[in-house]
Amino acid sequence: MTDRTGPGLAGQDQPAWLIRGARPLGGEPADLLLVGGLIAAAGPAARGPSAHDLAAGVPPGTQVLDATGLIALPGLVDLHAHLREPGREDAETVETGTAAAALGGFTAVHAMANTDPVADTAGVVEQIWRLGRRAGRCDVRPVGAVTTGLAGSRLAELGAMADSIARVRIFSDDGQCVSDAVLMRRALEYVKAFDGVIAQHAQEPRLTDGAQVNEGEMSGQLGLTGWPAVAEEAIIARDCLLAAHVGSALHVCHVSTAGSVEIIRWAKSKGWRVTAEVTPHHLLLTDDLAVGYDPVYKVNPPLRTAADVAALRAGLADGTIDCVATDHAPHPLEDKETEWQAAAFGMTGLETALRAVQEAMVETGLLDWAGVADRMSVRPATIGRLDGTGAELHGCPLVPGYPANLVLYDPAVREVVDPAAHASRSRNSPFAGMTLPGRVVATFLRGTPTVLDGKLAW
């Protein structure tokens, strides 16, 4: 198996790029020179058509990209995506999933463990990691299962996955809740040995038996079994207390209720090591979309109420919720073209995440672009341990000496979302037909473009 040379880690032979006039973090226009996979120079944008401040350091053969009007952000990092390979290659593969990620502005994605076979051994996580290297458009960080087969009965070999070449640091049974309190406690304790974090899918199973939609007015009207907020909040509260008790790190997946935000705010106020993510769809959509029983709106945890959306936005704005994670969950058409209760849970999200966040957070004045960079790149990189000294370094500042992982984004356009145009193998986008702002124009992974002019660069 060989890696493609373009986005490789060495990068000596790759052409240099000069990005002209982009606005780093939405600030003043600047030029960025990318050489050898790193940001070689950065400075105020040139005034004239030919001369510019960086001219002296530009090597021969440098490609120039006019990024006037575009915002430059550090390459986005997704803590939560289902790439479906191995096992459900009809829904997504690492190849198509990372293409979707690159088109969404991501340079690193975490691949959830609920594949078939489950990513619960060093062998499987190394396979997924290698598939990522071979696809090459995005760093793929496998998430390891907490329990063998996601069965919730005994711990998977967490240490072996941590020590493998995939260097797993996030462990999750996502899709299933680690509901056994003792098992959760042991997992939190055990991963302290290698600086791991347990990412919990918070869902009390007995309270959500057969659950289909948020329990509230809509579930009552529609006659669909309710998924009560308390089933999420009770587990989050328990896990925060467990994490505090054993002094370990808890990450809460896809927070969806106002009550969860309050509990996490309280846990953080105690100084406990608790982090949390929210999905783009929970920031933008509400449970009344289920009114026509179209399962494209069926997701777990379910879409909640407008009050929950407001609380999630406020929590993301004030930092209670650390980051946005997509929970990209592709499904083939036949798993969604069914009765609601027979349909699969999940929505695609990689290709629309930044646009949805602009709509929910930037257009509303809740976050500026520096804030978006923090919540979609810097903090998720920290939680995923991609901020250290390893080769796969993400969430870095756009200044000389750091890896050239970045996205160029045009916030001025508004376009209708068309899932048929997506690179994901699946089409189950809840934003289909909605008009969202923004367009990812280019993505660079270690100095090499993976996306140019809004299209895959290769």
Binding site: E215, G216, E217, S219, G220, Q221, L222, G223, L224, T225, G226, P228, G292, Y293, E334, E337, T338, E339, W340, Q341, A342
Partner: protein, 307 residues
């Protein structure tokens, strides 16, 4: 009227009254020696039943046949559905066969909504999951109006498992549209958490509700609720929420007792109550045919007129 009848909420007050008045006219016919009208000759009505419900299927079948429609019964059991064919593929098959109306009974809430997106004919909801059963609500309203002469201002107590009841949902919506006042009576475990937003009153106390009620409608307690901690025991449920003759005595003299069937005699309703003169349970069955005739007549006859 809409092309489909999926929810009682699809019906305006005028729509609902038109159906009831039409059903009244059609009911006269049931007394004639020849009970058949040629109205839907050449039209095809498919009964697509994913759940066993002999009484509802027979009622729709009788209604369609009395209007001279061709009836195809498509039962999930022993058909391609049992082999895993999707609802969509079944819909496309029915579409290709030229179904003018599909009457669907399905265990999944919202299945008729999905079906309506895949067929050109009219979709009639004959009960979907815990969502709705609009023709049941129409026949209930029809029965109330026949017995009590009006619907406006009528006080109707609906008693039992509201949480899982499509009959309750359709009745609350339709009776609200028609100006009746509904009170839901159930243990708190069998009410939706947000029932406070419904256009009706809610009570946990059956004895308090009965003296004020013109109609009491008892809902069936499903077997699977009995072992899922919704209430401690069947006996306790029956003591607190069952209608026996001593409770029936709390009702005003004119009040009627209804049940959509099938009954659990001795659980939600005592045998002597079910068989009493106040009971409309058998009448409801007969009225069901008239109301379903009216629905098919208005949905299909209407589209004929437009052609």
């Amino acid at each position: 009227m809409n092309r489909h009848l999926i929810s009682a909420a699809d019906l305006s007050r005028d729509d609902a009254l038109l159906i009831l008045d039409t059903a009244e006219e059609l009911a006269q016919m049931a007394d004639r020696p020849i009970r058949k009208l040629p109205t839907l000759r050449g039209r095809t009505v498919v009964n697509l039943f994913y759940e066993d419900s002999t009484r509802t299927r027979i009622s729709f079948e009788a209604a369609a046949k009395r209007l001279s429609a061709d009836v195809i019964n498509f039962s999930a059991r022993g058909s391609s559905v049992a082999k895993g064919e999707s609802l969509k593929d079944t819909a496309l098959t029915l579409e290709a066969m030229g179904a003018d109306a599909v009457v669907i009974r399905h265990g999944a809430s919202g299945a008729p909504h999905r079906l309506a997106g895949w067929v050109r004919g009219s979709v009639v909801n004959a009960g979907d999951g815990a969502h709705e059963h609009p023709t049941q609500a129409l026949l209930d309203a029809f029965t109330m109006r026949r017995r009590l002469g009006r619907l406006e201002g009528l006080r109707v107590a609906i008693v039992g498992d509201v949480l899982h009841s499509r009959v309750a949902r359709s009745n609350v919506r339709l009776l609200h549209t028609l100006g009746a006042e509904v009170i839901l009576v159930a243990p708190p475990t069998l009410l939706p958490v947000a029932v406070g937003s419904w256009p009706c009153e809610v009570s946990y106390d059956l004895d308090a509700a009965l003296p004020k009620s013109d109609v009491v409608m008892m809902l069936r307690v499903q077997q699977e609720r009995m072992n899922a901690a919704y209430f401690p025991t069947v006996r306790e449920y029956s003591r607190r929420y069952g209608l026996d003759s001593s409770r029936m005595a709390l009702l005003p003299e004119h009040a009627i007792v209804m049940h959509p069937g099938p009954m659990n005699r001795g659980v939600e309703i005592a045998a002597d109550v079910a068989d009493s003169v106040r009971s409309t349970i058998v009448e409801q069955v007969g009225n069901g045919v008239s109301v379903r005739m009216a629905v098919l007549y208005l949905l299909l006859g209407g589209s004929e007129a437009q052609r």
